[in-house]
């Protein structure tokens, strides 16, 4: 029960108040000198022994001012009224620590974001700033010195996803001498890049630059490669995660298999390859997705294997020279311990069927970009020949439509970043290999990175025709002479200012990049968040793009958002650098702002049990109390707010502190009834 009258106990603390001008940012709207004077006189009985204003509190001179006062004035608490904790809390806490004051005895009050920037009336803003300072002073009285908790860092790292981003990350860490577990759900690593022929803007051959890296991963003494595997459970916290991985049965004994490929050759069952060949080619029921696959061991697709269906066949077993086939193999569940995790699970491509008026799936000669990659690939189903769906006719006119499923409020608002360049790449290749007329239909041309616009100029000079406008429809209904047997692209040419119907033989849809279909489950599994549309959310979009809000979990590549190969590689390397930095520290300090359950107060109602975004809460059936794992808790406060019994204590945000701050804001602490209107 709260007491509503009765006098407050006398304040024992010696509090210093520092009011920042932030140049004119604050001082332009708030009378900072007045705020400091007010604090010195009105908050004296609340423990304020000194109050100053200064031009830039965050400057080294400003910080020294605080340090000097702590020592000379024997301050026991510090309140800095300035920008926001987000920006400079650490600065001022560190200054306090330098002067020997526990950093958590410093409180920041925002009089810039919350006062000067949102007001114009100087008098009112000054009064509000005073109230804010009063709130901070009242709160800081209730602060307690906190010590960070340190946890040891296991030097091993888990990389999930073996696309180019994951490969880069794994190699950086493994080369630095630390162990990496790489988990890839497909039979081989390589990701999307392994499907491409050439890569923009330099047109180097994708395989030539990718496969050496794949081989490095496969043979690296510091890498344990787990393909055909999925992460099932993640427990623990930064420095010591315990990860459960399911290694799906390959039905091939990898210790015996030499990767000779005889089984694939002899297997009588052909299956359309929807993954690697994008549905354009076949594989067998026992297969490696492509000849350079890493690892080289095939997997058996039991859903399509004749033996699993009918009980006879076993051709692979018969012909395998090393007796490596094992029809009885079971999934294996493995447990590993790692200190950090990098998620590089990449993207899915937009399903072109969703834009039904472009005819994909209905009109044979409408292709997706991924199909186009396979068509142009020398190792692909047509040996690199660009032909129509009939497998032989070379197109004479080709239309390439940009932004399919991207920048379109019916599907995705985002720009997929790579489609313009990929469309230019196709234009170049169609031109080079078929001599066909090429039309690129674009909304805006986006070629912002190194050598990209030069590539655009080159394609322009090659004679590709550019039509600026969003394609309305692709149809095979001929209306005009010359349209029979063609695909007609109906488009408003916004530069010419007229509607055009352009007959072509082949249409390529540059489909956008989308988050993995299972990205939200993946995010949940690893205790991170994804945006409403499904990309993993970084800790800070500019200043911390590969970290997440969960300590020890990093993201890289397209899992974080659409990007090209150079950016994916950079992020892979950046995430690795962050992990290496953590490993080097050997142990790390965790912010002491966290929750804990007061056992005697917890009734075991279990309301909090499913709420923690970081899976930090567990329930003990025997004692009927819930517990917060201190190393996992990130101090978000969700459970603190939810616990109806008030049994969860949030350091730094406990009832006393928050209520005291409110009292201070309302000036009830100095006996005023309310803030003057």
């Amino acid at each position: 029960m709260t007491k509503h009258n009765g006098s407050k106990p006398e304040v024992q603390e010696r509090i210093g108040v520092y009011v920042c001008h932030c140049g004119t940012n604050i001082a332009g709207t708030v009378d900072v000198a007045q705020v400091a004077q007010w604090a010195a006189s009105r908050l004296k009985e609340r423990g304020v022994v000194i109050a100053r204003d200064y031009k830039f509190m965050c400057s080294s001179l400003g910080q020294e001012l605080i340090e000097k006062d702590i020592k000379e004035q024997k301050l026991t608490r510090v309140v800095v009224a300035a920008c926001s904790p987000h920006l400079h809390e650490r600065t001022f806490r560190t200054a306090c620590a330098r002067a020997g004051l526990n950093p958590f005895l410093c409180e920041m009050v925002s009089i810039r974001e919350q006062v000067s920037w949102v007001h114009t009336n100087k008098e009112a803003a000054t009064i509000k700033a005073q109230a804010a300072v009063s709130g901070g002073v009242e709160r800081v009285i209730h602060h307690e010195p906190l010590e960070p908790m340190t946890v040891p860092i296991n030097p091993a790292t888990l990389v999930v996803g073996g696309g180019i981003a994951g490969i880069q990350a794994a190699l950086e860490i493994a080369d630095a001498g630390y162990h990496v577990y790489m988990v890839e759900r497909e039979p081989s690593i390589g990701g999307h890049m392994a499907q491409f022929d050439k890569t923009f803007p330099t047109l180097d051959c994708a395989a030539c630059i990718l496969t050496p890296k794949m081989v490095d991963v496969g043979g690296h003494p510091n890498v344990t490669l787990l393909t055909w595997s999925e992460v099932e459970k993640v427990e623990g916290y930064v420095g010591s995660f315990n990860v459960t991985i399911r290694n799906k049965a390959r039905h091939v004994k990898t210790d015996l298999c030499t990767g000779c490929g005889i089984c694939q050759e002899k297997c009588p069952k052909k299956v359309v390859d929807e993954v690697y060949e994008a549905g354009l080619g076949y594989r067998k029921a026992i297969y490696t997705p492509f000849p350079q696959a890493v690892p080289k061991f095939p997997v058996m697709d039991v859903d399509n294997c004749i033996y699993f269906e009918k009980g006879t066949c076993k051709a692979c077993e018969k012909f395998c020279p090393t007796n490596a086939i094992d029809f009885t193999q079971q999934d294996e569940v493995i447990n590993i311990e790692v200190g950090n995790i990098i998620l590089a699970t990449g993207y899915d491509i937009f399903d072109a069927r969703r834009v039904s008026h472009y005819g994909y799936g209905r009109l044979a000669n409408v292709f997706t970009s991924l199909e186009m990659e396979r068509l142009t690939n020398a190792a692909g189903p047509t040996n690199g020949q660009i032909v129509l769906r009939d497998g032989k006719t070379t197109p004479k006119a080709v239309g390439i439509i940009h932004c399919v499923g991207s920048r379109d409020r019916n599907f995705n608002n985002h720009c997929s970043v790579i489609c313009c360049m990929q469309s230019l790449k196709f234009a170049h290749m169609v031109h080079e290999r078929t001599g066909a007329i090429v039309y690129n239909f674009y909304i805006d041309m986006r070629t912002p990175f190194k050598d990209y616009d030069e590539f655009y100029q080159r394609v322009l000079e090659e004679g590709t025709l550019f039509v600026r406008g969003k394609v309305a429809e692709v149809t095979d209904a001929a209306r005009l002479p010359g349209e029979e047997g063609k695909l007609i692209v109906q488009v408003e040419d916004t530069l010419a200012g007229k509607q055009r119907r352009i007959p072509v033989d082949m249409v390529i849809l540059s489909v956008g990049l989308e988050p993995r279909k299972d990205s939200s489950e993946t995010a949940k599994l690893f205790g991170i968040s994804c945006s409403a549309n499904g990309w993993f959310i970084e800790k800070h979009p500019k200043l911390d793009p590969v970290a997440t809000m969960t300590e020890g979990i990093y993201i890289a590549g397209c899992a974080q958002g659409p990007k090209d190969i150079p950016a994916s590689v950079s992020q892979g390397a950046a995430a690795a650098a962050r992990v290496l930095g953590k490993i080097q520290q050997k142990e790390m300090a965790l912010e002491p702002i966290r929750a804990s359950v007061i056992e005697e107060k917890c009734s075991g109602c279990r309301i909090c049990n499913d709420l923690c975004p970081f899976n930090a809460i567990s329930f003990h059936e025997d004692t009927m109390v819930s517990e917060v794992n201190a190393a996992l808790c990130q101090g978000c406060g969700t459970c603190v707010a939810a616990c109806p019994a008030g049994a969860i204590y949030g350091t730094g945000f406990n009832n006393e502190q928050v209520l005291a701050q409110i009292e201070g804001l309302l000036l009830l602490n100095i006996g005023e009834e309310a803030v003057p209107a």
Partner: protein, 330 residues
């Protein structure tokens, strides 16, 4: 009244229903212990006494006063201050004195409206529309009735309180236990708890005393007990019954929930719970199993009277204290 060596006892009712008084009488023969150990000097419901008798007493001459009821009018306030002066130990007795209780729910409406409702509803037989008058002249002089305040306040919002004894009303076994304790203290066999303590109740929650099984909670709809066949073993909240047990102070032996009715919160906020209603709202909202705003709205519609659900006993004692109309127009 004779001069008596026995310590003096008083009990008073302010804005309350009278249930607390009945609860004290309901301790059966234990009431004799009160009589044996105390001289009852003032207890309007049980004996005749005049305010001026109390006024004449020496300050601090009453050892123990059980004060029930909230402070709704100037008479309540006058007596609260008077008894505070005269008593060594002032106990806020029962939910009304501790946290406002049902009379405190009137803090959602302006005082004028409350009077109007009382004298002008279908259940009121008032054909001539007679309303009470603040003062009236009679041949003997002017008589007045107490002046109603804009809002009801809890006892400790008006005077300093030594102990709190929650419950609507406090359970007889808890009253009995407190009387035992006070008697022991009088005989030097026990010590009083620190000032400001809650007495005659537990330190945890109703859930803590409830024997129903619980799982991780996820609520897809709120129901009334008559809507469903209640599983006698399982936590009511998990069955969609909005049970206030999780935030309510223990002390009742989980009476309602063991009888199959939800806890409505009469024992008030659990130790450390500052705003009872806000706590429960946050807790219930946390376990609603939906992310779709419309569906969430629909689920919340299953709580037709949020003030009654979450603040039935605690509105006056909450951080809010009252609804805006009461402040503005009171």
């Amino acid at each position: 009244m004779t001069d008596n060596a026995k310590p003096k006892f008083a009990m008073y009712w302010a804005a309350s229903c009278g249930g607390c008084e009945i609860a004290v009488l309901n301790i059966h023969e234990k009431i004799l212990d009160v009589d044996a150990n105390f001289e009852v000097v003032f207890w309007p419901v049980a004996m005749d006494a005049k305010y001026k008798d109390v006024e004449a007493m020496e300050d601090g001459s009453i050892l123990l006063t059980l004060f029930n009821g909230g402070i709704r009018n100037d008479e309540n306030e006058h007596i609260a201050r008077l008894l505070r002066r005269k008593s060594q130990l002032l106990v806020a007795f029962g939910s009304c004195a501790c946290e406002g209780c049902i009379p405190g729910l009137a803090n959602l409406s302006p005082a004028g409206e409350i009077v109007h409702t009382a004298f002008n509803t279908v259940s009121t037989d008032n054909p001539h529309g007679i309303y009470p008058r603040a003062s009236f002249d009679v041949p003997e002089g002017e008589i007045t009735i107490p002046k109603i305040f804009p809002t009801l306040r809890t006892l400790d919002q008006v005077v300093d309180v030594d102990y709190y004894m929650p419950g609507c009303p406090p359970e007889s076994h808890q009253i009995g236990a407190v009387i035992d304790l006070v008697v022991k203290v009088l005989h030097g066999e026990a010590q009083l708890p620190p000032k400001g303590s809650v007495i005659g109740a537990g330190n945890s929650t109703v859930c803590d005393e409830c024997t129903r099984k619980r799982n991780v909670k996820s609520i897809t709809s709120f129901k009334r007990i008559y809507d469903v066949e209640i599983d006698p073993e399982l936590c009511l909240l998990e069955q969609g019954i909005p049970c206030n047990g999780p935030a309510t102070r223990s002390g009742c032996n989980a009476r309602c929930v063991s009888a199959g009715a939800q806890c409505i919160g009469c024992y008030g906020p659990a130790e450390g719970v500052v705003d009872y209603g806000a706590r429960l709202i946050a807790a219930f909202a946390s376990v609603i199993d939906s992310t779709d705003p419309e569906e969430i709205e629909a689920i919340l519609d299953g709580i037709p009277d949020p003030a009654g659900q979450f603040y039935r006993f605690n509105l006056a004692g909450s951080l809010l204290k009252a609804g805006k109309p009461a402040w503005e127009k009171g």
